[in-house]
């Protein structure tokens, strides 16, 4: 992830090879939208050039087409089921597709559980990621900063199914005292109210902690990248004024890196929203809809789809899950788009 260079690459003369000799550097400006760098009628480009250009723009186009196709195909498969849905898709908390002739499915509970677990994970991970990014860019000596950064990146290398297994087998029992304390002593606060599960392991709380660990390296990587680009002269100016290290950070680093930090957090949020297998293994199902407590259980979009994957045999029930997948797609699309807009040109993730 580096600074996105906006400067255009130098153009080759007339964009083609046959007119060798006219080696003046092309000075086309970017005021030629959509056609930049083309021949402008001077001479026709060589065949190799045309094929190669076609291949590259075709590949670029393919990426755009892939996104469009994802949305389109999911929509096409979801519509028949949505039309056959006897419940309100947006507000119904039940997701019952057992009888293809009588589908009742809605995403209210999926949305609540997905958002609650992801936002909780974000709240846990954001300050820690900020601290790590500052540590790696501003505190740690250059020599050790790189290996340390690699160690944090290792967190991203652990497959999510392993986080899930660890979360339920090791982490959940360890969190039990904290969860018990929160529910018993702070239960008046709606997030810590007794949930719809009779147990305190395998709740949204547990799942959120696991998700926080998983998105930590993503937020850290983006934030670290931006912080390390903080303008040298701002930092030096602050130092010259006798600022302490913390004051330098507050005056020069944070203002510059804020948008990158937010963008990184949004990317982390996107990842948490779509996390599948760890959530499926950790968060337990409940019989009643979530009441906005962290000690609730239930399914997220992703974990519900994965849990039903082996039953994808009939078109209408399958379409119901695809409809849920479509909502998840739109949700992550929006979150990632926001990340990109917030980041401006500073990050690419």
């Amino acid at each position: 992830m580096t600074e996105r260079t906006t400067a255009a690459r130098p153009r080759d003369p007339q964009d083609e090879g046959s007119a060798a000799g006219s080696a003046t550097l092309d000075t086309v400006t970017d005021t030629d939208p959509g056609r930049g760098g083309t021949d402008r009628g001077k001479a026709t480009p060589g065949r190799g050039e045309r094929i190669f250009r076609g291949l590259t723009s075709g590949s670029g186009l393919l990426v755009v087409a892939a996104i469009a196709a994802i949305g389109l195909f999911l929509l096409v498969q979801a519509v028949p089921s949505l039309l056959a849905d006897n419940a309100n898709f947006l507000t119904s908390p039940v997701f019952d597709t057992r009888d293809p002739a009588n589908l009742n499915f809605g995403i209210r509970d999926l949305l609540v559980v997905t958002l609650l677990s992801s936002l909780f994970a974000l709240v846990l991970a954001m300050p820690i990621a900020l601290g790590i990014a500052l540590f790696l860019t501003q505190y740690a000596p250059k020599r050790v900063a790189r290996p340390f950064a690699y160690v944090i990146d290792l967190l991203a290398a652990v497959p999510s199914i392993i986080y899930g297994l660890w979360g339920i087998a090791v982490l959940a029992p360890a969190l039990l005292p904290i969860a018990t304390f929160l529910r018993d002593d702070l239960g008046w606060f709606f997030l810590f109210a007794p949930g719809n599960l009779p147990v305190l392991t395998g709740t949204i709380f547990t799942g959120g902690v696991v998700l926080a660990v998983m998105i930590l390296p993503i937020i850290t990587a983006v934030t670290r990248e931006v912080f390390s680009q903080a303008p040298r002269f701002h930092i030096e100016a602050a130092q010259a004024l006798g600022a302490t290290r913390w004051e330098v950070i507050r005056m020069a680093v944070l203002p510059y890196g804020r948008s990158g930090y937010i963008a990184g957090s949004m990317l982390g949020l996107g990842r948490a929203l779509g996390e599948t297998i760890a959530v499926l293994i950790v968060i337990r199902a409940a019989t009643t809809p979530s009441g906005f407590s962290l000690f609730d259980g239930g399914y997220t979009f992703a974990s519900l789809i994965a849990s039903a994957a082996s039953e994808f045999s009939q078109p209408l029930p399958t379409g119901a899950y695809i409809a849920a997948g479509l909502v998840l797609f739109v949700l992550t699309f929006v979150v990632n788009a926001i990340a990109r807009v917030v980041a401006g040109g500073k990050v690419n993730g």
Binding site: R98, T201, G202, R284, A285, T287, S310, E311
Partner: protein, 369 residues
């Protein structure tokens, strides 16, 4: 040249991948410890395909091991993709037979089966797996339940362990005042469906919910799969669940004794008590179609009959279009019914078929053409 060195490195990786692909093998000598079965006519198609119920997967694994040993060079690939998928794939002709927790439904499914086979399809209940009401209540052993009480535990009406309904069945036992935590299967499963069918059939209306692949009791916390509910019960004091007996045994959980619909003595879950229930089950299918009346199992009234068991079928064509397939299916099912295969079942959490019932299955299997 640095560039060439890199190419060489990539080549090296590719080469090592090739070497890797040559060194693996499926040979697991001594892995099963099974021996060849007598009285099996081998032959026909060398690789059968089947899919369906995951509840019978462990039994299938053992049958396949015996089959491979008995009929050298022949095998069966069983995919535990779920009963619904198994029936659909059989009806669509992708598999040679289906494994299913329920028989073909009358109407559409039976019609499609007739078309697929160009002959009637038979439901053969080959594998019976007892389902335990497994509990983890500190200080309580030999818990006794009956149908109506179990129904009210699993729908939340009986909410504490020292409820009078439970106490009446367990005189003299120290039942804690703790709330009952129900662990249920959150995935769709035949175990859930059959257990709820038992609750509906045996609770005299006390359960009051519908039987389905998902749990409708409205209480408790879900966990994925049999292992999931067994683990959850093991880790949560004062909790109870329903699970195949093998999982309860391995997890060291208590298994409730059940008073069946005939009243009388509480029946512990044993190979014999389940066999007694299976021997008394009614068949509703015609001729060699051995579709069962499951209510006669759940409402078993014979003394010493344990009423909660999952019956899983193999759904086959009575007359295959292809003799090669028919021969192989017959050979495989004969292997499954052989003593060698049957004696391995208790280890896997199933009951060997009682002799009388096995005779009827053998007749049907030998009639497959």
């Amino acid at each position: 040249m640095r560039y060439q060195r890199r190419v060489a490195a990539i080549g090296l990786i590719a080469a090592s991948a090739l070497v890797l692909s040559a060194c693996g093998s499926d040979e697991n000598a001594g892995g099963g410890g099974v021996s060849a079965a007598p009285g099996v006519t081998c032959g026909g198609k060398p690789d059968l395909r089947s899919s369906g119920s995951s509840a019978q997967n462990n039994a299938m694994t053992r049958f396949v091991a015996t089959y491979q040993q008995t009929c050298q060079g022949q095998t069966l690939n069983y995919t535990p993709s779920g009963s619904g998928a198994g029936r659909n794939e059989f009806l669509g002709g992708q598999t040679d037979f289906a494994g299913s927790d329920s028989a073909l439904k009358d109407g559409d499914e039976t019609t499609r089966a007739q078309q697929r086979c160009a002959s009637p399809a038979w439901n053969l209940p080959l594998v019976f797996g007892p389902v335990a009401i497994a509990y983890n209540v500190p200080g309580v052993t030999d818990l006794v339940l009956d149908g109506p009480t179990a129904g009210r535990v699993f729908n939340g009406q009986v909410a504490t362990w020292n409820d009078p309904a439970i106490a009446a069945l367990n005189p003299g036992k120290q039942l804690p005042a703790a709330p009952i935590i129900v662990n249920f299967r959150s995935d769709e499963s035949g175990t859930t469906e059959n257990f709820q069918k038992y609750l509906v059939a045996a609770s005299n209306g006390a359960y009051g919910k519908e039987a389905a692949q998902t749990f409708n009791g409205g209480v408790g916390a879900g966990a994925r799969g049999s292992q999931g509910v067994a683990d959850a019960t093991k880790n949560t004091p004062n909790s109870v669940t329903y699970v195949e007996s093998s999982f309860a045994q391995r997890g060291g959980l208590g298994m409730a004794q059940v008073i069946n619909s005939g009243g009388g003595q509480a029946v512990p879950l044993t190979t014999e008590s389940v066999a007694t229930a299976v021997n008394n089950v009614q068949v509703t299918g015609q001729g060699n179609d051995l579709k069962l009346d499951l209510d006669s199992l759940y409402q078993a009234s014979a003394p010493g009959a344990y009423p909660i068991a999952l019956a899983t079928y193999e759904i086959v064509c009575s007359n295959y279009a292809d003799d090669q397939t028919a021969g192989a299916v017959r050979g495989f099912l004969q292997t499954a019914l052989s003593p060698n295969a049957q004696q391995a079942l208790p280890d896997a959490g199933y009951v060997p078929l009682p002799e009388q019932f096995k005779q009827r299955l053998t007749t049907a299997v030998n009639a497959i053409q």
